[in-house]
Structures are given as C-alpha cells and as structure tokens.
C-alpha cells in the first residue's frame, strides 16, 4: 500500500458534509443490490434443475458403454501411471465409483470444477493484488503535502551510482557472504547527509562499505511540506552479492 502523506486531515465543516447527504441514492443502491441478488437467485433456481437433468442424462447414457470401457480401461489404469490431471481428478472425486473408470464423468467433474476457479480468484485477487499506484504528478503537486527527500540526480541514477560504487569487500570473498546492510541516515533542510547508522548489519567489512557509499552520495533534495524544506530520515538496503 502506498501512502500519500499530508500534514493535517483534510478539513470539512459539518454543514458541508450534511449538504452531501443523499438518502435516496442509498435506497436506490440497496434496491439495486437486492434486485441483482434476486435475479441471481432466480437464475440459479432455474439453472440447477436443468443442470441436474442434463447431468443425469449424461450419466444414464454412459452405462451402455460402461462394460467395454471398464474392461479396456482397467488394466491401463493399473499399469500406466496416471497423468497429473487424472491424479487431480481422482483426488477431487475419490468416492464416486462410476466416475473412476469412465471418461465422461471425469470430464463433467472437470467442467464442474472450472467455474469454481474464477470465483476463488475473484475472492483472493482484491486481497493480494498489489497496488501499482501511478505516480501522477497531478496528485502529488498539491498543497499541504509531504514529499520525501530524493537524490538530486534522481532515483534511477542514484541506484546506478550505488551499483557502480558499492564493492564487495575482498577480505570477505573467501567466506562467500551475501546479503544486505540496512542503513539509516538524516537529510537536513539543506539536503546534506549526516548520522549514517547501520540498522541491519552484515559484519564490519560490509557495514563500513555501505556507510562509505552513502556518505559519497552527492546532494539530496530535502523532504518538503508545502514546498518548505524539512529535515527527514531515510533507510536504505544495500545488497551485496558474491560474484565470480
């Protein structure tokens, strides 16, 4: 979740809020949901009997072929290892004796399972979907807003600079240590870096290298509130990877 920091809560008077009241739209909205739910129920009550009839017809038709299929399929099932799909289907419907040897019932099981998938996805998606907020400058250039400090060269060049500058300590090479050092530092109103400390250490060799690089980073644009520079702190992870 991305946050947009403002100094104070947006202010609004009770009168203004009351002028936004619209109970009719609440009644309409609720009616819309109930109508939709009713139609949905109606659709289900009509669809389910039809589905049951179709299913029983399909199941009743298949026993004509069953003895042959049964005999033909049985040895094959014992000898040939089941494909992952078959295994899955067998897991899903282990107790249906008719379903096992026949192809058709398993197909109908697969068909039944298919529409369930999107529902699960729909339920899970809103919870897990990452918020890819677009940094619309329009939204950020607003009054009463906090803007984080950023390197004068811009973050893209800044990360390239770190990549270029950060060197794996030669003395640690024999131990093949990999990981990150998390550093914290202050950026004053003028954009100068100070007070570099290590929050997550990877050992002195790496910590010192991380501190050295952070201290070498040229000027910063300080954080601002309504365009006014304010002191801020920033934490950064510097990753050390063992190569060669």
């Amino acid at each position: 979740m991305k946050y947009r920091f403002v100094k104070k809560r947006p202010e609004i008077s009770t009168e203004e809020i009351n002028s936004l009241r619209d109970f009719d739209s609440v009644l309409k909205g609720s009616r819309r949901i109930l109508d939709f739910a009713y139609k949905g129920k109606l659709l289900w009550t009509l669809t389910i009997p039809v589905a049951i009839v179709v299913y029983t017809l399909v199941v009743n038709q298949t026993p004509v072929q069953e003895p042959q299929d049964h005999e033909l399929n049985q040895p094959a099932q014992e000898e040939v290892p089941a494909t992952p799909l078959q295994e899955q289907e067998a897991d899903e419907e282990p107790k249906k004796p008719e379903a096992k040897p026949e192809i058709q019932p398993t197909e109908s099981v697969a068909k039944k399972a298919e529409p369930q998938k999107p529902i699960v996805e729909k339920l899970e998606q809103p919870l897990e979907q990452p918020t890819e907020d677009n940094e619309t400058s329009e939204e950020l250039i607003k009054e009463d807003i906090y803007l984080k400090a950023e390197p004068k060269m811009g973050f893209k060049d800044f990360y390239a600079f770190i990549d270029n500058e950060l060197t794996y300590p030669e003395l640690a090479r024999k131990d093949s240590i990999q990981g990150h050092v998390k550093v914290l530092f202050s950026i004053d109103k003028a954009g100068a870096v100070s007070g570099v400390t290590v929050l997550e250490s990877l050992g002195d060799l790496f910590d010192n290298e991380a501190i050295r690089v952070i201290k070498r980073i040229p000027e910063w644009n300080p954080a601002t509130f309504n365009g006014e520079p304010v002191p801020s702190r920033m934490s950064l992870k510097l990753t050390f990877k063992f190569s060669k």
């Binding site: 979740m1 991305k2 946050y3 947009r4 920091f5 403002v6 100094k7 104070k8 809560r9 947006p10 609004i12 009770t14 809020i17 009351n18 936004l20 009241r21 619209d22 109970f23 739209s25 609440v26 009644l27 309409k28 909205g29 609720s30 009616r31 819309r32 949901i33 109930l34 739910a37 809103p126 979907q129 918020t131 890819e132 907020d133 677009n134 939204e139 906090y146 984080k148 914290l184 202050s186 400390t197 929050l199 954080a223 304010v230 002191p231 801020s232 702190r233 920033m234 934490s235």
Partner: protein, 188 residues
C-alpha cells in the same frame, strides 16, 4: 441515569434496525446519525471529496441491502458501518490505484506518544522519521493504530472492524508500537 439513557438509545437503534428490515425508509434515522462520522472516517483516508461522498453512500446502501444479515454481537451498529467503510476504502485504493492519505499531525496525538513512551528528544526524531516509519507498516497495522488512537475505538471494535479477534487486535497493536519504538530508538 446516563447509562439508562445510553441503553434507551441502543434499544431505539435496535428497534430502527429491526424496522428497517421491513421498511428500508426507516433506515433514514441511522443514516442521519452516522453519515457525518462515516464520511469523516472515509474522507480522512481518501482525501477526495467526490470519491468520499460515493464511498460513504456505498457504505450505507450495502449496510441496508444486507441488514437482514446483521446480528447484534454486543457492538454498536456503527462498528458494522466502519467495517464496511474500511473495506470500501481499500477496494477504492486498489481499483482506482490511489494512495491512502495519512495525516502526519495525527501521529503527534498525545495518547499515541504516551503509549510509545518516547523521551522528549525522541519526539522530534519521531516527527522527522514519520513518513519512512509509516511506509514500512502494512495497511492493517496502520489501521490498528489509527482506529485505536485517533478514532478511540475499543480493541473489541478494532478487531471487529478489521476482521480479526479482539486479542489479535490487542497483541498486534502493541507489537507494532514496540517495533516503532525500537526503530525510533535506532534512529536516535
């Protein structure tokens, strides 16, 4: 006397809810009572007037549409509205790819500072580090703090609103506060 009055108000509210199940227009009294607090709650998170108006409206019409499912669990009806409001806000952030507004001044609230047990010199550090500290919190942890300290909700309410148990709300809040305290001390 006060508690008798409070009980009467609760009973009246229950009565209106029961009546609303049969006659949705009766819900108007609930709407009048909670429209402003729910609107303010949404507006403080969304920060846009028009969107807040729509979200608040959807909170009430969803509550009304599902009012038959509402069961009195010893919590005020408003907790149910806040629960819907939180979900509606986060649906909005996801669907519209919007930022969640955070008012930094709120985080200088005396109750929160007391709970964080910060020394005087640490308070300034806390203020300067707020954005980077808060950015490291996930939305549920941020809501825990805001509901508890800025909306003054009980842990029972907080838990219900966020869909976790009361105990979990309590434990998680103190764990988050502990983590923040530790980070502020690291900063100093």
């Amino acid at each position: 006397m006060d508690s008798q009055l409070a009980n009467k108000v609760e009973l009246d509210e229950q009565l209106i809810i029961e009546q609303s199940k049969k006659d949705p227009k009766r819900f108007g009294a609930i709407y009048e009572k909670y429209h402003e607090p729910i609107f303010r709650f949404v507006y403080s998170r969304v920060g846009q007037l028009e969107a807040s108006k729509d979200i608040t409206s959807s909170v009430f019409y969803k509550a009304l549409a599902h009012i038959r499912k509402y069961r009195d669990q010893g919590l005020s009806f408003s907790s149910w509205l806040y629960r819907i409001a939180v979900n509606e806000c986060y649906d909005f952030f996801r669907a519209q790819k919007k930022y969640r507004t955070v008012a930094l001044e709120d985080y200088m609230h005396a109750d929160l500072l007391e709970e964080l047990q910060l020394e005087e010199d640490e308070k300034e550090i806390w203020m300067n580090s707020l954005p980077s500290l808060l950015e490291s919190l996930d939305s549920k942890d941020l809501e825990l703090i805001e509901l508890r300290f800025f909306e003054s909700k009980s842990f029972k309410d907080v838990g219900f609103i966020l869909g976790i148990t009361e105990n979990n709300a309590k434990t998680r809040t103190y764990r988050v506060l502990g983590r923040i305290r530790k980070e502020v001390r690291n900063f100093s």
